[in-house]
Amino acid sequence: MGTGTELFRRRQTGVALAVLVAGTAIAGVATAQTPVEGGTLTVARPADVNLWDPKFTNDNDSLWAQGQIFANLLQNSPDGTQTLPWLAESYEINDDSSVYTFMLRQDAFFCDGSPITAADVKYSFDRATEPDSGVSWQFPSDPVVAVIDDHTVQITLSRPNVAFASYLTLWGSSILSKTYAETVGEEVMAQEPLGSGPFCLESWTKGQEIVLTPNPGYWDDTQPYVDQVVMRVVQDDNARLLQVRTGEVDIALAIPFSLAGALDGVEGVAAHMQTIFGSAALVPNMRTVPAFADVNVRMAMAMATDKQAMVDALLFGNGTPAQSPFYGPGILFWTDDFAVPYDLEAAKALLAQSAFPDGFSATLIVPSGDQLAQGTATIFADQMAQLGIEIIISPVEAGTWWEMWSTGTFELVYKLGTNDVLDPAMNIPFDFWSKDEGGSDAAFSGYRNDEIVRISMDAEAELDPMTRTELYRELQQIAMAEMPQFYLFHPTTIWATRDSVHGFAVFPTKAHRFWEVWLDPQ
């Protein structure tokens, strides 16, 4: 693993290389040394879990903790490039990708020792798709779950969807115990969950500490390696950093870009980073600002945006400029072949050809208190001023920002979206579809392109990877030529570990696994 010094050396040699180095280093440690069992892993995280019921979970800090105690049918590979079996030992997909059959492991048990069966899978999925569920969007193409036998589940979709398997790695499809839920009820289940994954919830001191112990019924006899995980809630960024420095905790998560340098040269501690599957973007509303409906205006604005300057100034170089509507280079089918280069002169020429050659003004709403959003807005406004376009920055309280965006009562909005699975299909309905197709009115901007909708629906049903690649290539080409959103950059996430910690990494989806971590013997 890298040291603090390495982090900043990497910064100079380029982010792509840095990610490669970080990934290799982590994999290298895991294979070169034999994991040691035992010990207590202590982690500082910025927020507590709100509740342990995946059906109503909408915040990262809750779902990442839930990911330690609940297992899914499938999981992402540690490097984030493949979907692998987990609770399902194997699975089959029919010829047109509309029927998925999962064969469950027979040696998997909940934390109370009861076996995990097909009935639990059906219960979990049926519940997650109920009308009041906050995670039903994670079940596209109206899946119907049938129990074939105790350890076989069949899911039938209303239309073919090759991306469906990757959705089953998300928290919405965590496997819960039907018997336990029916015995204790929803409210107790959300406070005292029964784990199906590597860990069980031992205790939860709200707002302070979560203690996990290994699930005795977890099928992998070798993992988890540690005897106990203590997740401490340490809200303040500086305090988390101080705790890892003093050795009070072994891992500090969510270190801000501006503080990572504080670990440089500190003995026994290293900072690490990972580029995430996530994009910062600005969504122009084509209904409220007539200029945004003009493709020449949108292209001119995209060309006049110096994304590298944003990465350098806001992320201290720890990020990559966005060159595609997909959420980062690691996403399947991502290509930068249609990237729009920064070219102020060409942008001015393009604006002159538009119906708004003398510029216009628009208000950009950003969530107040979000430093990255406000910094992005400031740089963007400066850059647009060179085109004669006035961007008025309006920081609004987070709930109000959410409301203005989702009701389409904005002119220009900042968003930081993430792709929690490997397949780009996850965000396409939100970014490109209208409400008629089950989308979001193209991110509430009023943008619509029938060709993109057709291509994306074809790609969802396409079994041949080559044809699918071609379809998504075409989609990215159209999107980069029409620029329905201004794609800005992919940030990194930074965390710090003591040198005694091995096998820990934050994935590009920002999820992490404590069951793969082992500690140096004391």
């Binding site: 906050g134 969007w137 409210e187 959300a190 302070q208 340490v234 101080l242 003093t246 709930g399």
Partner: protein, 313 residues
């Protein structure tokens, strides 16, 4: 009027005030833009699902009906279920309230213990180096922002000397006091200067009052004079300031709670407002309103205890 009648009258007066607080908070949270259903279901939720959840939460009812339901629930001792936590509001508040109350009480006790002797020393030797020192330090600590002060205390006492923990609340009395020491000192350093300034000024004024001069000419020792005639009168203004500040501190500890990761009510207020968790915001406002009124009542009772001239009328 005796104390019991006074208490009964004051408690009855609380009811319209509490109703006013409830009404204002109920209306204000609904006036600000933001949809709890959208925040709960996320940005990808369909219109149908949003509408279904609004119906389930009663958010599609006319506002007067929603208010009627809320008041009806309060009369039955229920604050409703949190939209965000999906649990009983009272339960969530009662889990966190002890943290904030302990922090406020600890800070106030520390502040009084520090400010009373320092104020007396400064007032008795007005203009001396002690007075200058007390006033100088007061101005200095008053001008330090809480988050900065807290972080510096953390670095010094928790990281460098490792005398106190960096974060958390602890369990058991001694452990809690140990955990709360640094946060309480942070608040104390902001509160003490206000108390010192008030107490010092009123002590100086009273020390020159005719009855004190008279007592002095009678040959009363300086110590007895301060204890019997000066301090008791001087404390009146301090009690007023303390009463107001305790009310403010109940909701104003958010920064300190954040820096020291204390699971108190401050963080709950912020997250509930962001999530538009109407029942939680209303519940917190109601309980805070109740606490502030009770603190004011206690302040009035203290007046009467300190000054025999104050009656219960």
């Amino acid at each position: 009027m005796n104390m019991i009648t006074f208490l009964r009258k004051r408690l009855l007066q609380m009811l319209p005030v509490l109703f006013g607080i409830v009404l204002i908070v109920f209306m204000v949270v609904r006036l600000i833009p933001g949809d709890p259903a959208r925040i709960m279901l996320g940005i990808r939720a369909s219109d149908e699902k949003l509408a279904a959840l609004r119906t389930e939460l009663g958010l599609d009812l006319p506002i007067w009906q929603q208010f009627g339901r809320f008041v009806g629930n309060i009369l039955q001792g229920e604050l409703g279920n949190s939209i965000f936590y999906r649990r009983d509001v009272t339960e969530v508040i009662l889990e966190r309230l002890p943290v904030t109350v302990s922090l406020v009480v600890f800070s106030v006790v520390l502040s009084v213990l520090i400010s009373v002797p320092l104020s007396i020393a400064a007032a008795v030797r007005q203009g001396s180096w002690i007075d200058q020192l007390v006033r100088g330090i007061s101005t200095l600590t008053l001008s330090m922002p809480g988050f900065w002060l807290g972080l510096n205390l953390l670095i010094l006492f928790a990281v460098v000397w490792q005398l106190f923990p960096i974060s958390g609340f602890g369990t058991g009395f001694v452990d809690i006091v140990w955990h709360l020491t640094l946060p309480a000192i942070t608040i104390t350093l902001s509160l003490t200067p206000i108390l010192i300034r008030t107490l010092r000024a009123s002590l100086i004024e009273i020390m020159h009052a005719p009855h004190v001069e008279f007592a002095r000419t009678k040959g009363l020792s300086e110590g007895r004079l301060i204890r019997r005639h000066v301090l008791r009168n001087g404390l009146m203004a301090t009690v007023t300031i303390l009463g107001v500040n305790i009310g403010w501190l109940m909701g104003g500890t958010v920064v300190v709670e954040y820096v020291f990761s204390l699971p108190g009510i401050g963080a709950l207020i912020v997250s509930s407002i962001s999530a538009r968790d109407y029942p939680m915001i209303q519940g917190i406002a109601l309980i805070f309103g109740l606490l502030v009124i009770l603190i004011n009542l206690l302040t009035d009772l203290l007046y009467a205890a300190l000054d025999p001239r104050v009656s219960y009328d």
